[in-house]
């Protein structure tokens, strides 16, 4: 039996109220909120957070890591290796990117399910678009991680029953390299192009697994072409099509199939059959059967908790974080690029957060601590000033001076409880300076 052994999700702390887009611009926007990655997050840092949550809930260690995003921090080098370093994986664990489109994310999941080793499948996206665009409003930023393996590796929560794919080649959305904006063909064309592919994939998946619509407890349907999904998914004949989190998170692209699977598994019962249909340059359908082990599984941080714990970000701040709205930079020298050779020497500290100041090399990534004192620095260089900086005494006895992320300066207080989070501090000469910050514990 092969399937999903563990799952983890990551929603960034900030939420954009879509009506703010409309009220600011006079058009665009919509109802509900979308999640917004902070200025110091990218698809790699969010992937690390989702993977940490996933691995915290299981004893199984992956032998491979597949990472998918449409918005990678780097080209021409691997981003999964950054995740690998932050998670302190053994060098024998492989780490590869499967990037470029939402299709890659579901393809990575398929490859893992059809493979033979325990594999961590991480999807992460920051969804962007020009102001007032449909992509801007409909998108959301998130990451999801699924640990795939067999019952030889550990308890399987959801057994993979099989599925089918119908690949198609048609240009309904496209983005030129280097552009932040995707362009869209007339909407109705996509619906016409997807319809026969959806029907074909569904029929073949049912045939391959012996599942029919009546036997599906809940069906996840996701993809970037909302109209095609709306017009064709009903034809599958499944009563319970699950909430796609569009009104709270938005469509998180490469993260979304895993995010919705996690959402369903958080409240699934043994015996449930879960369908997953992903519309991306074709249609892929997968079926899973939830096992009795789901009752013994507790997510390290549930999606429900994260949904409940967001805080607003203003529309202009959102635009400046994405680089759409250029604001005056701090009048300080730009940070110099981090040294690659120094970073390699100090990889355990820089990426793995192993405390270099004690002989034992205490791992700090999962440590929780208390803010002993803090200050607000309005002078120091930051992509989004001011910097909130705290001296944190961790419960394991270690003290670290650290920047505090995801807080409004006015809300910080001595005694606040904080945990560590992987972030990009800044970049110099295109080298992303990854390290760790603290953030309030919000469980």
């Amino acid at each position: 039996m092969r399937g999903i052994l563990s799952f983890g999700t990551y929603l960034p702390f900030r939420r954009l109220d879509r009506t703010e887009i409309t009220s600011t611009m006079g058009s665009g926007g919509g109802r509900g909120t979308r999640t917004v990655a902070s200025y110091d997050e990218d698809t790699t840092t969010m992937a690390v957070e989702a993977a940490r949550t996933c691995l915290a809930a299981t004893d199984v260690a992956p032998a491979s890591t597949y990472f998918s995003t449409v918005d990678p921090a780097y080209f021409d080098r691997t981003n999964a290796s950054t995740i690998h370093a932050a998670l302190r994986f053994d060098p024998s664990v492989s780490a590869v990117d499967m990037n470029g489109s939402q299709r890659s994310a579901v393809g990575a999941l398929q490859a893992a399910l059809e493979g033979s080793r325990p594999t961590l499948v991480v999807g992460s996206d920051i969804r962007i678009g020009l102001p007032t665009s449909a992509d801007e409003a409909a998108g959301g930023d998130a990451a999801s991680a699924l640990l795939v393996g067999s019952d030889d590796d550990g308890p399987v929560l959801a057994e993979y029953l099989g599925g089918a794919v119908a690949t198609g080649e048609f240009v309904d959305r496209w983005r030129e390299p280097g552009e932040s904006r995707s362009k869209l063909w007339e909407e109705k064309f996509g619906e016409v192009a997807y319809a026969p592919l959806a029907a074909q994939a569904w029929a073949k998946a049912c045939e391959a697994t012996g599942i029919d619509a009546a036997g599906v407890t809940s069906l996840i349907v996701t993809g970037l072409h909302a109209r095609a999904i709306k017009r064709t998914a009903a034809k599958f004949g499944v009563d319970n099509i699950v909430d796609d989190l569009g009104s709270s998170v938005g469509n998180s692209g490469a993260a979304h199939p895993g995010l919705l699977l996690a959402s369903v598994l958080e409240s699934a019962s043994a015996g449930d059959v879960v369908g997953l249909a992903v519309y991306a340059d074709g249609v892929q359908v997968m079926f899973f059967r939830v096992t009795e082990h789901v009752g013994n599984f507790t997510p390290a941080r549930s999606l429900a908790t994260q949904l409940a714990n967001g805080a607003p970000v203003s529309y202009p701040k959102f635009l400046s974080w994405r680089g759409t709205l250029t604001v005056e930079p701090p009048r300080r020298p730009l940070p110099d690029r981090p040294s690659s050779s120094a970073a390699l020497r100090n990889i355990d500290w820089k990426f793995g957060l192993i405390n270099p100041n004690d002989d034992g090399g205490t791992p700090m990534a999962n440590a929780v601590g208390t803010v002993t004192t803090f200050t607000i620095d309005k002078l120091v260089y930051s992509p989004s000033p001011p910097v909130v900086f705290g001296v944190v005494d961790f419960d394991n006895g270690v003290r670290m001076p650290v920047e505090i992320a995801d807080v409004d300066a006015a809300d910080v207080a001595v005694g606040d409880r904080v945990e560590m989070t992987f972030r990009r501090l800044y970049d110099g000469d295109g080298i992303v300076n990854y390290h760790w910050k603290a953030r309030p514990v919000r469980d």
Partner: protein
């Protein structure tokens, strides 16, 4: 083993200090030559009379060539010295040891910094390749951690403590206003400072040292030769330096209410000079008031006030120009300005003026009415928990 010091073995026989300003029309070369010329004139010598030079600059230049070329030195050793904001004092320390060793008869310590060519306000760190995990906080941010910690430890209301450190700035501006060499020559009230926008913690821009260009220098000779050069030399009683182990920032027991490196340097200096009760034996002090909370802590670390009492001594005016123990009578870093490599020598320049009765009459400390004759210089570099500390003691008489 032991720190023995060189008490009364070396004397300063000449000093010079140029006005600290935003010298848009002067480069480092110009300032160094100007400070050196003032110093030669003060000691009654010429550059060829100096056997060796110690040249301090933090970020404006590298190597002894940055001094020997503009000064046209021929065949002389020049040592470039760097020790953060204590660079100027370190140049004096090295020059003094060289003379005390007998290696040279006459040495110059000179420090200078050209800060205002960087294009940004504030001091800018020299870029050294690193792994990108260095703490990202300004010096103002790090020193702003002191106030809430001190308030909590000693039960002082935070707003009252904020006013106390503003009083320190007020005092130093009062002193600077009376000093023609100081960068800022206008009095500023504590109330005005408290009403300014905070830039780091509760600190405003006026809680920070002035950023200025400048240079200063000293001539040192063996004590027995001092009277060949001047009638009223200053004798070096102690030179102490401590480079910290950096553990403060990661030590859970460190509470940001003391600067241990500075306390250790002071203890060493007092031992070298034979001082047992600094408050009763020190007549005046120049201390490193890079930020107003720094001066508050230093009053306790240097033994001028009991722990937890400096704030009330500040309010009592103890450290004012007419107080019991005047501190930073020249305006300090706050009002005199802080060209990093020059500041340590500027501090010694103020002792050179005050202890010899040569300060401008309106700001001359009345030393005749008290039996204390020693002056203290404290100079530091770095941040709370991660710093270098320097303390020297100077006097007009030998024991």
């Amino acid at each position: 083993m032991g720190s023995h010091g060189i008490k009364d073995q070396v004397a300063i026989v000449g000093m010079g200090c140029i006005p600290f300003r935003e010298h848009w029309d002067k480069g480092l070369d110009d300032m160094l030559v100007e400070a050196a010329d003032l110093t030669f004139e003060s000691a009654g010598i010429e550059k060829d009379d100096v056997d060796a030079y110690w040249f301090g600059t933090s970020q404006s230049a590298a190597s002894g060539l940055a001094l020997s070329i503009p000064m046209g030195l021929s065949g002389k050793p020049v040592t470039r010295v760097e020790n953060y904001c204590a660079t100027g004092s370190e140049a004096l320390r090295q020059a003094s040891y060289a003379v005390a060793s007998g290696a040279y008869d006459v040495a110059m310590a000179i420090g200078g910094e050209k800060v205002k060519d960087g294009g940004y306000q504030g001091l800018n760190a020299f870029p050294i390749p690193h792994d990108g995990t260095k703490r990202s906080l300004t010096a103002a941010g790090m020193y702003s951690l002191i106030l809430p910690a001190y308030a909590a430890k000693y039960g002082v209301d935070e707003d009252e403590l904020r006013m106390v450190v503003a009083k320190i700035a007020e005092k130093n501006h009062y002193n600077g206003a009376r000093n023609p060499l100081a960068q800022f020559r206008r009095e500023t009230s504590a109330e005005q400072i408290c009403n300014m926008a905070a830039v780091a913690g509760k600190l405003s821009v006026f809680d920070c040292a002035g950023v200025a260009d400048g240079a200063a220098a000293a001539i040192v000779v063996r004590a027995e030769d001092a009277h060949k050069y001047c009638d009223d030399p200053l004798y070096i009683k102690a030179l102490a330096f401590v480079s910290g182990d950096g553990q403060g920032v990661v030590d859970p027991d460190y509470d940001f209410t003391s600067l241990p490196e500075c306390k250790m340097a002071a203890d060493d200096a007092y031992a070298q000079a034979g001082i047992t009760d600094p408050r009763a034996e020190i007549a005046m002090a120049e201390v490193h008031d890079c930020f107003t909370p720094t001066e508050l802590l230093l009053m306790e670390d240097l033994g001028f006030a009991e722990p937890g009492t400096a704030w009330s001594e500040v309010l009592n005016g103890t450290f004012n120009l007419d107080g019991d123990l005047p501190v930073n009578p020249d305006g300090g870093l706050k009002a005199f300005g802080h060209p990093v490599g020059a500041s340590g020598l500027r501090m010694h320049y103020e002792l050179w003026q005050q202890l010899r009765g040569k300060a401008e009459p309106e700001r001359q400390i009345d030393l005749s009415s008290r039996d204390r004759k020693l002056g203290l210089v404290h100079n530091l570099g770095g941040y709370p928990g991660e710093m270098v500390g320097f303390v020297s003691i100077l006097g007009t008489d030998t024991d």
